[in-house]
């Protein structure tokens, strides 16, 4: 049938576009230097990192229909893994009798994803007993619990957080160089988005899409949905933890603010603004939100008064966020 053929052509064209997009993003530090605006690289790094976090939330929220209002918790925990390991690395103090300190990015990143995933598994296992508004509220409550735990955790800075004086190191690369660190983050982001792209088209992704559309239908074809929802929630938490670990390195600082509920809200805005349930939507949402924030903040200190209505209008009139807007412009219907 015709749709299959055009589908293949569209996917080839899409891959071409994605390749061009990645090449353009990779060239960004050079362009920033040429333009005499080296701060652009740092801003782009922030966007790329938050895009990973937003894409992770999108797996649960956009594809699985699990509206988690506590994703900043996993993001912050990832950041704290870097901060705590760095603290022990510098001081040489053991942690629970083990000498765990390290400043190696190849160790801290996987560990951050793992620890965040573990926390997401424990809290997700409880939260997923509920659904709908209850699920939104309980994820928010858990995240606030974790937030206040870290506020009270004086051993690791409490309210003030932890300073990571030097970025974690990588063999052969100088992560202190802004462009190098940007490329590291970009590589991980491309990898994470590729993984998400495969995931949502796999058998697992098909079940997840079914969960979003009708739990009743899934039961009627013999699928117990709970394990799939939990797996999606954990993967989603791992991605957020990875992003948090990168952000701790980028900002060279972690604090409980990373897991404040407003951070969860910002991640949700990125997903919804970009287009929930679309692959690249969260990246676009992260870029637009961060750019708007920084531009408006330069104009006025009351930038939030401008940003709020702007977001409402964009979401109301684009039907499906920026992805919806792109669809309207192209006149097509494939996101």
């Amino acid at each position: 049938m015709a749709p299959v053929v055009t589908g293949q052509a569209a996917s080839a064209r899409r891959n071409l576009w994605l390749g061009a997009l990645v090449a353009a993003l990779a060239a960004l530090p050079f362009l920033a230097d040429l333009a005499g605006q080296p701060a652009m690289t740092s801003l782009a790094t922030r966007i790329v990192i938050l895009a990973i976090a937003a894409a992770s939330l999108n797996l649960a929220l956009g594809y699985g229909g699990l509206v988690s209002f506590g994703h900043a918790a996993w993001y912050g925990i990832g950041g704290y893994v870097v901060g705590v390991l760095y603290r022990h690395y510098v001081s040489g103090d053991p942690f629970l009798g083990l000498s765990v300190g390290t400043d190696q990015l190849l160790v801290t990143l996987p560990l951050a994803a793992l620890v965040s995933g573990l926390f997401a598994a424990v809290f997700g296992a409880l939260a997923l007993r509920t659904s709908g508004v209850q699920f939104i509220m309980i994820t928010l409550a858990f995240a606030q619990m974790i937030f206040f735990f870290f506020v009270a955790l004086k051993a690791y800075g409490g309210d003030d957080g932890l300073i990571v004086r030097r970025r974690n190191s990588l063999p052969f690369l100088d992560t202190r160089d802004a462009a190098t660190f940007y490329w590291v983050c970009l590589t991980l982001a491309v990898g994470w988005f590729a993984f998400m792209g495969r995931l949502v088209r796999s058998r697992f992704g098909a079940v997840l899409a079914g969960v979003r559309q009708s739990e009743r239908r899934m039961a009627a074809i013999g699928v117990r949905t709970y394990p799939y929802k939990l797996a999606a929630f954990v993967i989603s938490g791992m991605g957020a933890g990875l992003a948090g670990a990168l952000m701790a390195n980028h900002a060279r600082f972690v604090s409980p603010d990373m897991m404040h509920w407003t951070q969860s809200g910002e991640l949700m805005i990125m997903v919804i603004l970009g287009g929930a349930g679309t692959l690249l939507g969260p990246a676009a949402g992260a870029a637009v939100l961060i750019l708007l924030e920084t531009q408006l903040a330069a104009l006025t200190e009351h930038w939030q008064i401008v940003l709020g209505p702007l977001l409402v209008l964009m979401i109301l009139f684009t039907r499906g966020g920026l992805s919806g807007l792109a669809r309207l412009v192209r006149g097509g219907r494939d996101g």
């Binding site: 749709p3 796999s202 058998r203 009627a220 074809i221 013999g222 699928v223 117990r224």
Partner: protein, 255 residues
């Protein structure tokens, strides 16, 4: 008329009760479904037919009574476990994945039948072991030409056909059809009857239906449900002749 193979019920319901507030939705309901037969369950609106199917599928818990599926009491089984054991249903108010294509809906049911779905990398859409059986089930339900159409762009009649295809994809031994003809046009109804006729014998079917032409064309046996109670049970000819049924249901005022 094809006589059902006697004895050996594949599904046996014993003295089922379910009350909602003051209403007896299911009132001492006992029923056998024999292997390979089509057993029609008819009755006026509100007789408790859909509630009964809900109890068979484990979506609604009965107050008392037993449901034996292939000789085993299935009270402890969840809905998904019952489906995996070989029970499947269609919904009167269709429950389909609206954003997916017809093929996608059926392929997901095929996938569920094949075991767990913790496969994160290979594209499900390109998997021939899902696509081929899904196409067969679509064809069996008369939807072969509509495989790539999205559900929310399909007609009501096609939704009914797709419900059937999805149910078939879980390869049930027993199929519970909840008003498959409701809302269908005359020619769509005929297609549905033909589709069900083709399945006859291979499957045991409990057919809840209002359309008497369809019931009498398909059923080996008919039971009549009124206020949660079975008031009569027998061959189509016996039911048509039953005075009580005619009074209660077939709309003949004096009996």
């Amino acid at each position: 008329m094809a006589e059902p193979s006697g004895g050996d019920p594949v599904l046996r319901v014993e003295r089922l009760f379910k009350r909602f507030g003051g209403v007896n939705a299911t009132d001492d309901l006992s029923l056998d479904l024999r292997r390979g037969e089509i057993h029609a369950l008819i009755g006026p609106n509100g007789a408790g037919k859909t509630t009964f199917i809900g109890q068979l599928m484990g979506e609604i818990e009965p107050d008392s009574g037993r449901i034996l599926f292939e000789g085993r009491d299935i009270a402890a089984l969840s809905t998904p476990a019952r489906v995996r054991a070989g029970l499947a249903r269609t919904f009167q108010i269709t429950q389909l994945l609206g954003e997916e294509t017809a093929l996608g809906n059926v392929a997901l049911a095929v996938q569920a039948r094949q075991g767990h779905s913790f496969r994160f990398w290979a594209r499900a859409g390109a998997d021939e072991s899902l696509r081929a059986p899904a196409c067969d089930h679509l064809a069996a339900a008369g939807l072969a030409a509509r495989a790539q159409v999205r559900v929310h762009e399909m007609s009501h009649g096609e939704h009914k056909q797709l419900e059937l295809a999805v149910a078939l994809a879980s390869q049930p031994h027993v199929l519970l059809l909840d008003e498959p003809m409701a809302g269908l046009g005359a020619s769509e109804s005929r297609d549905m009857v033909e589709a069900l006729k083709r399945m006859k014998g291979g499957l045991s079917i409990l057919l809840v239906e209002h359309d008497m032409n369809a019931v009498f064309a398909l059923a080996d046996r008919v039971s009549v449900l009124v206020y949660g109670r079975i008031i009569a049970s027998g061959t189509p000819a016996e039911i048509q002749a039953d005075a009580q049924v005619r009074a209660a249901y077939l709309g003949e005022g004096d009996a």
